[in-house]
């Protein structure tokens, strides 16, 4: 028996807010939709396992989380086929997708593809960050959302609203963090004030943020602000965090260290089909080049949600819908006039959602220490390549990450550069004094996720 072959109008990769929203809108416009999601339940990361978790942990996780149920319910449409645990490993010709489900290889062909693969935590290389017991703040949130597991004796380290959200959720769960070690400075806040107008336009986020900070204050959670020279201590597992504030050295004994200094677009799938990207200096990351509908240089491929630029869950849902409108128009199930009418409201909503971004990005920039790591800090976790190794590679004439990868193996491990790519580009850029855009990024090739040779062979004619 040959491999499963699916033929559809639209293939949506990722069942987070952008993917779910796009699928629904496309289905309502009369298109057949195949949603491929690697998780066993829909929701992406932000609404992780929301169908189940809402029932039991709703109050802890908050309304912003449980709101995700509207989108997951939206997938129950006769035009939508949602395949769970479907791991995409190759995208070809802008229309063909090879994926694996339950250990079996399968192929899908679509007239259009929407990449909705969301965001990744920005890599935060610190001394000791590879020790067991060190995780991302997002990981701690996933453990809480999906498994009802809270990290005892944890310290949150980094910057950004997610740090406060996770801390607040931990407080509500009855397991408050030991402390927050925050890297943003007063000077960052001062500089961000010129974006305050935007923050006011996005006032619901401002209000939420202030409320979280108030909740943390009331719960007595200690906040250390303006931290630098952060390191994780420990031998076989994390046992503490050290840092400096001004001239004072601090040390906190803890069991778990949770890192976060922003999220960045997950560009793996987009890069694998050679979609052009450009460097965004404020967010210190690469962003795919798309038009206002999310269409990329590969005309059958669209990107929506955090994968096209960080904007959060609500913005992702709006962007997904906007992309679906254009796709419906492409495939003649909607007129341009109707598309524009529907898009107008959505685009206004999107602007409102994005209004507070410049302020947030400016007030909570990436931790400088992680962008300029010490020589002995591990950068490529998989192959254990250090920042010093990469600087040495630059000295050997490596102008970009691909030569660096060839010489030093950074980026060759199973994560395929997801957690070192940006760091490697940054370090090379700084060392060679060439801007990140010119320095470039890893050439991403299939498989997007490891897949057994048996599954790949099964697709052979």
């Amino acid at each position: 028996m040959g491999p499963q072959m699916h033929s559809t109008d639209l293939i949506v990769i990722g069942a987070g807010p952008a993917g779910m929203s796009a699928a629904r809108r496309a289905a309502e416009s009369g298109l057949s939709v195949l949603v491929l999601d690697e998780q066993p339940t829909p929701g992406g990361q932000i609404y992780r396992d929301v169908d189940r978790a809402s029932k039991t942990r709703g109050p802890i996780l908050g309304k912003d989380f449980t709101d995700g149920r509207t989108l997951t319910q939206g997938l129950l449409h006769e035009n939508i086929t949602h395949l769970r645990g479907a791991v995409v490993w190759q995208i070809e010709d802008g229309t063909r997708v090879a994926f694996s489900q339950d250990g079996k290889g399968a192929l899908a062909v679509g007239k259009r593809i929407l990449l909705a693969t969301g965001a990744l935590e920005r890599p935060m290389p610190l001394p000791g960050w590879t020790l067991p017991g060190v995780m991302t703040a997002g990981a701690a949130q996933i453990l809480l959302k999906q498994s009802g597991i809270a990290c005892e004796r944890a310290v949150l380290v980094g910057s950004g609203p997610l740090l406060y959200l996770v801390a607040a959720q931990m407080v509500r769960a009855g397991v408050p963090p030991l402390a927050l070690v925050e890297t943003q400075t007063k000077s960052d806040l001062a500089k961000s004030m010129r974006h305050f107008g935007g923050a006011l336009r996005g006032w619901p986020y401002l209000v939420k943020g202030l409320r979280m900070l108030w909740d943390l204050r009331r719960a007595g959670v200690i906040r250390h602000v303006g931290a630098s020279q952060i390191a994780v201590e420990g031998n076989q597992t994390a046992s503490g965090v050290t840092f400096r504030i001004g001239a004072t050295e601090h040390h906190i004994v803890c069991d778990t260290v949770l890192l976060h200094h922003g999220v960045v677009p997950n560009t793996q799938a987009a890069r694998s089909i050679d979609i052009p990207h450009r460097w965004n200096d404020t967010q210190s990351c690469f962003v795919p080049v798309c038009d206002e509908w999310g269409r990329t240089a590969v005309s059958t491929v669209f990107i929506a949600g955090d994968g096209a630029g960080i904007g959060g869950a609500k913005a992702a849902a709006l962007a997904g819908e906007i992309a679906a409108l254009e796709i419906a128009c492409d495939l003649d199930t909607m007129t341009k006039k109707d598309r524009d009418a529907a898009a107008r409201l959505l685009q206004r909503g999107l602007e409102a959602e994005r209004a507070a971004r410049p302020f947030i990005d400016s007030a909570y920039p990436p931790y400088a220490g992680a962008l300029t790591p010490s020589d002995d800090t591990i950068i490529c976790r998989c192959e254990e390549v250090t920042a010093g190794d990469i600087r040495r590679m630059a000295g050997l004439g490596c102008l970009g990450p691909n030569q660096t990868k060839a010489f030093g193996r950074a980026g060759m491990g199973p994560c395929q550069g997801r957690f070192c790519g940006l760091s490697v580009t940054q370090i090379l850029s700084d060392t060679n004094k060439i801007p990140p855009d010119a320095t470039g990024y890893y050439r991403v090739r299939p498989p997007l996720k490891p897949v057994t040779l048996g599954e790949i062979a099964a697709l052979a004619e």
């Binding site: 009802g148 809270a150 998989c382 254990e384």
Partner: protein
């Protein structure tokens, strides 16, 4: 739940089933995320890197970092992408670089 565990289950759900981790039998909640369940059961580290034998455990919990790789039913897979089922055979990955191997 172990007394000095680093992870607390705030609302234990569901039936427990028996799985094997190496030569040890563990009772884990059926259908739950495997990486999370193993963390709550006190398993640490999950593996040792092939390069230097350094200990590693789950880092991102979303299938991107591969630090939670375990050998599950004979194939190296990310534990955070797998759900607990009765009778699972789990072990450190076949390329485990433990220095005392």
């Amino acid at each position: 739940m172990k007394p000095d565990s680093k992870f607390r289950e705030i609302d234990p759900q569901g039936d427990q089933v028996t799985v094997r981790f190496g030569s040890t039998e563990l009772r884990l909640p059926q259908g739950e995320n495997l990486a999370g369940a193993l963390l709550a059961a006190g398993v640490m580290p999950f593996r040792h890197t092939p390069v230097s034998g350094a200990p590693r455990g789950p880092f991102c919990m979303m299938g991107a970092c591969f630090d939670c790789l375990l050998e599950i039913e004979g194939v190296n897979r990310q534990a955070c992408m797998v759900q607990v089922s009765a009778g699972m055979e789990i072990g450190m990955p076949s390329t485990d670089g433990a220095t005392d191997a």
